[in-house]
Amino acid sequence: MFNSLLKLRPGLPFSVANRVRSTSAAIGRRLVVDRMAGTVVTFGGWVIILSILAILVVILAEVYPLFKDPEIHFEYKLPPAAQGQVPFALGVGEYREIAYQIHSGGIEFYSLQTRKPLEPMTIQGLGEARITGVAQSAAQWLVLGLSDGRVLPLRVEFVVSYPEGSRMVVPKLEEGIPLQVREAGQPVELLSMVEKSGGGYVLAVLSAPSTLSILDVTLKKNLMGGVRRSETKREVTLPVGGGISTLTLNEPGDKVYVGTTQGQIIAVDLDHLPEGIQTVGASKNAQVGVTYLGFLNGGYTLIMGDSEGGVHSYHVNKDDGDRLVSIFDFHPHSAAVIAMSPSRRDKGFLTLGRDGAIQYHYATTGSSQYTLTRPGVTDYRAVALAPKNDGVVSADAEGNIYHWTVDNPHPSVNLKSLFGKLRYEGYSQEAYVWQSTGGTDDFESKFSLVPLILGTIKGTIYALLFALPIALLGAFYTSQFAHRRVREIVKPTIELMASLPSVILGFFGALVIAPQLERLLPGLVLMPFLVIGLVFLVLLVYEKLTANRMRWVRPGFEIVILIPIALLAGILSFYLGFLVESFFLGGDYRSWLLTVFNVTYDQRNAIVVGLAMGFAVIPIIFTIAEDSLSNVPSHLRAGSLAMGATAWQTAVRVILPVASPGIFSAIMIGFGRAVGETMIVLMATGNTPVTDWSIFNGFRALSANIAVELPEAPEGGSLFRILFLAAFILFVMTFIVNTLAEWVRLRLRERYRVL
């Protein structure tokens, strides 16, 4: 019977066979249940393992696109609609549905989706003339320079409508009034234009080899709704050697920057003529001519291209007579730079060289991110970056159009912008700046994580500075000297402190500690000295009084007398603090700090965080340190005491060395907790992302920054991903520290076992 059963169900526990009455079906069911349960439990275990991995994977997956190389795809080449025209400028609509080309014969529109030319539109003001030059302003207007000496303002608009629910875009032209700037028959080739904020525009035209004509057109709306137009024309002759090769107006339209074939950059201050003409910059030597000048979005950074293919960026230093400050030399072209197309939304721009390469650079970081070339094509004439930075269109000398799509969603982010010092527009030097949102449209987000990381470290250090001595010494006393009964009360009390929600500690820090600290700081500084002094004094008196007599404080119960001493010392030191403040610090320590050390005092500062975070960190360090100290095998202690060492000598020379890895691991875990703490730093600091170490100032930590900014960050944007990166940094920091602590603790456990 047994045998047959065992044969029937191999692998059955032997004992089952004893239950002769159970049918094999019931046994089978039990085994199935057993196996299923095993699967479920294993599954549960794996879910945990996988979720740990998932945390890392999800966060990294969100961070990854920040550092991905741009993806570029060449779409197609479109033949020109009209033959034999020279292209001057290109433009692309918002969603890359329509592009236009301005060539010597007029304007042509293409649908980038159907790859076909759209219905031709004629420019009425053109007449018999041909287009000889084009200037694009930062807004929608552009100006055509014509072969008969006129200029013609033109606006290209893309009208969006939704007939039958689907999006339709139609181009629309609006022509301004043409102006005669050169004599008839003299073509306008070099020109620049900016729109004025109040209406109207400023135009600079090269009208003779070294003469600029400046046209200032003001449009004023009067009360009747009509527009009054006034124009002024000025001529400036520049003292240049060599020819003028390029010119550009600055954004307010009060300065013209002129580049010469001998490599000079000359600024012409239109409001201070004739003396306001000065050379503000130069190429590396007179053999290298300036071939292109143009401002980026925001009008602060000037890009210069030279005849050797060099691409350079400058800031205008307003404090130093508008001298140009060289910022970056970008990856050069191998031949002269002939055109540039700035992004309308950030500091990226395309440059076009005679070598047939189109390069994308980012001005803030100085990086050159991608290069576009087509085999056999070297004579591009115009280039345009799509408004959403997602495409590039260029035209060669025959008017063929080339279209690329680009996936480069985070051009401003690289390791340098995240962790390096950068000179942002408007800054007089390189700096680490975190400033994710700003008031104006052309505001540039500054994503340096350095101030945040420093903030995290600052908060952690000041918290540990306060927490470590208290926690470690307290643990030392509790484990070595305190009576068992004292320990049974004290330890759970302090452990209970660990369970206090950090939001409460943050609130306590900000609304209770901060205002009190502002009053009591001098006393707090005095407190450690006073406490130690008082303890010493009391001990001395106590010893004297109880010499050779019964002690009224049993060993291990010192805490009973120490609590009143600490309280007394606390009160005394605050009182003394007031005295010191009024006698030595002129009655107000804050103004004293300001005059003597030149430090300002914020109400919510690093001390407040240190104190509040101390509440969170002390119990953790205390518990772990206490555990490792009291787990030291007792025979070591007994041996030392038996050899005649005092309790203190035993504790310091025997116990402490053995338990020191445990104490190290306690410090590490406390460090990890302080690094990741969010609510306390969020509430108890001013949250200003600054890089300074002053204990009297606030800071912004990585964790608090995530909590503040993530709810407002659009999904998938640069800010969103950078916040994930911040989380990743926090994760890694704590992971390393915790693993180290765990490893040390495991080693220690092994050591205790051996001992």
Partner: protein, 543 residues
């Protein structure tokens, strides 16, 4: 060290023992002070404070409660002795503009506590402090002066409060229900339109329903108007300076005269305020009223969290101890679990945002709630995602305590069961699980305490300062896991730091803090108690 005794103390190390002891004393003092400070400040909020009428210099008067006192310094003149100023809550925000003022003590000529001074808690504009002038009803003055006025208020207020409550009920429940159904039907229409059905029987049916609901809505609105008409009646008050202020009776929430209170009425008032605080909705952008929605949100979130974390944590604990082969891999996992406990809570929040909200929530929206896009249903923060995030955060606590429990079950017990023919599953269920269940419970309680107090991950996964509706209500499917919710911890952060009137919010923050701290400490004490009982039991069984 010349002094022999001092030298001896130094050498023996007694000094150092005492110094280490003093740090411990400091920790104990710190905790005690923190808890005492929060306890006193929190309870003080509910205690009725005397209303003082101050006569100040320059013929000024002020009526208010003292809320603080501090020393003032004049620069360089500290030696002349410190002077003090007191903070008064003078209320009457709509009359004075600010409800808290500082008064220098040397400005105060005398102070009295007039028995006729009243505190009126209003539904809007905060408290009003003053004296009754008259009570009007139906356009006529029906009572003059304090005594008559109080009697009239006692008569009128219950009725008006009753009507007000009914109005609120109708607005919230009945009209709320209609709105809810309207929205559902509109979404149904969109869903059909997305499928390409714009006409036909189904559409007409829904449109009929919508029309019916709109009709119903109109009727209810009319009912409300007639009810509101019954809310007439005014209370005319004078401030300390004699300025008159008309307060509509329907704005009056509670009237009391703290200066006439004896100790028992004070206690009764105190109890009543605590009940109100726990059971009522917040008013005045969370700075007054109760915190019921926040309590509800906290409890529900913790409950959902336990629902996810317990099975997972227990399974993982059993896997690591009972099912997985012990070795390098399992100890790696154990280190990872311990590590998980040390990962900053905000990182879990970030994970929740990336994974639960945008990845899973976004996918759910695309698949099942396409009709309400682009407004997200699950693709935004909500109580489900917050609880899941929290579950992940607290699961290490459950795992560790389950493992601890399993480790303390003697091997012999298991072997005995197996030897009697039980399968592994049966052994686990009937022998091991009962033995570890107290440990699991301990872990769970600790996890709950952690979840109740943690705020940072919630801030980005679905907590709001003011949720329009509770996550559980009377509409199918009753539990709305996609809804945003309120949380006690976030309430503290929001009211204490984001509210424009910090002084007015202070009391509320302290009270909420006290509530949260009590909740967390209670849970922790329960866990400690349970753990001690297990230990004792184990000691006994080991003998």
């Amino acid at each position: 060290m010349k002094h022999p005794l001092a030298h001896q103390l130094w050498k023996r190390g007694d000094v150092f023992v005492w110094i280490t002891g003093v740090t411990l004393a400091f920790s104990v003092i710190m905790v005690t002070m923190l808890v005492l400070c929060l306890l006193l400040n929190g309870l003080e909020t509910f205690w009725p404070k005397t209303l003082y009428r101050f006569s100040l210099k320059e013929d000024k008067v002020a009526l208010g409660q003292i809320t603080g006192r501090e020393a003032t310094y004049i620069q360089g003149k500290a030696e002349e002795g410190t002077r003090y100023r007191v903070q008064l809550k003078q209320a009457n925000r709509d009359v004075y503009g600010i409800d808290f003022i500082w008064v220098d003590e040397d400005q105060i000529l005398d102070r009295k506590s007039p028995s006729q001074a009243l505190v009126i808690e209003r539904r809007e504009w905060g408290d009003f402090y003053g004296f009754i002038k008259e009570v009007q009803s139906g356009g006529e003055v029906i009572a003059r002066g304090h005594a008559e006025g109080m009697a009239a208020l006692d008569r009128l207020l219950p009725r008006i409060t009753g009507i007000w409550d009914r109005l609120e009920r109708i607005e919230k429940n009945e009209i709320g229900a209609i709105n809810y159904k309207l929205e559902k039907n509109r979404l149904k229409l969109r869903k059909l339109a997305l499928k390409g059905i714009n006409l036909g029987e189904q559409v007409a049916e829904i449109e009929r329903k919508i029309a019916g609901l709109q009709e119903e809505y109109k009727n209810k609105e009319e009912g409300l108007v007639s009810l509101r008409a019954q809310l007439a009646g005014n209370l005319v008050m004078t401030t300390a300076e004699g300025t008159e202020k008309v307060i509509p009776l329907n704005q009056v929430f509670r009237v009391y005269s703290p200066n006439t209170f004896g100790i028992f009425s004070k206690l009764r008032f105190f109890g009543g305020k605590i009940v109100d605080f726990i059971s009522q909705d917040p008013r005045e952008s969370n700075t007054e009223g109760g915190v019921f929605p926040a309590i509800f949100g906290t409890v529900l979130m913790v409950f959902l969290m336990s629902l996810f974390a317990t099975p997972l944590g227990v399974l993982a604990g059993f896997y690591l101890r009972e099912y997985a082969a012990q070795g390098f891999f399992v100890s790696m996992v154990r280190i990872a679990v311990n590590n998980l406990a040390g990962v900053p809570s905000i990182v879990f929040g970030v994970f929740g945002v990336g994974f639960f909200i945008y990845f899973i929530g976004g996918s759910i929206d695309k698949m099942f709630f396409a009709e309400s896009l682009p407004a997200p249903t699950f693709g935004t923060g909500g109580i489900l995602w917050a609880s899941l995030t929290m579950a992940l955060l607290t699961v290490p606590v459950v795992i560790v305590s389950t493992e601890e429990g399993l480790a303390s079950v003697p091997k012999g017990v298991r072997e005995g069961s197996l030897a009697l023919g039980a399968t592994k599953f049966e052994t686990t269920m009937k022998v091991v699980l009962p033995a570890v269940s107290p440990s699991i419970l301990t872990g769970l309680i600790l996890a709950m305490a952690r979840a109740a107090g943690e705020v940072a991950p919630l801030m980005i996964t679905g907590v709001v300062k003011m949720a329009p509706a509770l996550p559980i209500d009377g509409f199918w499917p009753f539990i709305h896991l996609d809804r945003k919710f309120m949380h006690l911890g976030f309430h503290i952060f929001d009211v204490g730091f984001q509210s424009p009137n910090v002084d007015a919010a202070r009391a509320m923050v302290f009270a909420t803090t006290l509530l949260l701290i009590l909740l967390v400490l209670l849970l922790n004490l329960a866990a400690i108690f349970l753990r001690n009982r297990i230990r004792r039991k184990l000691e006994v069984s080991a003998v």
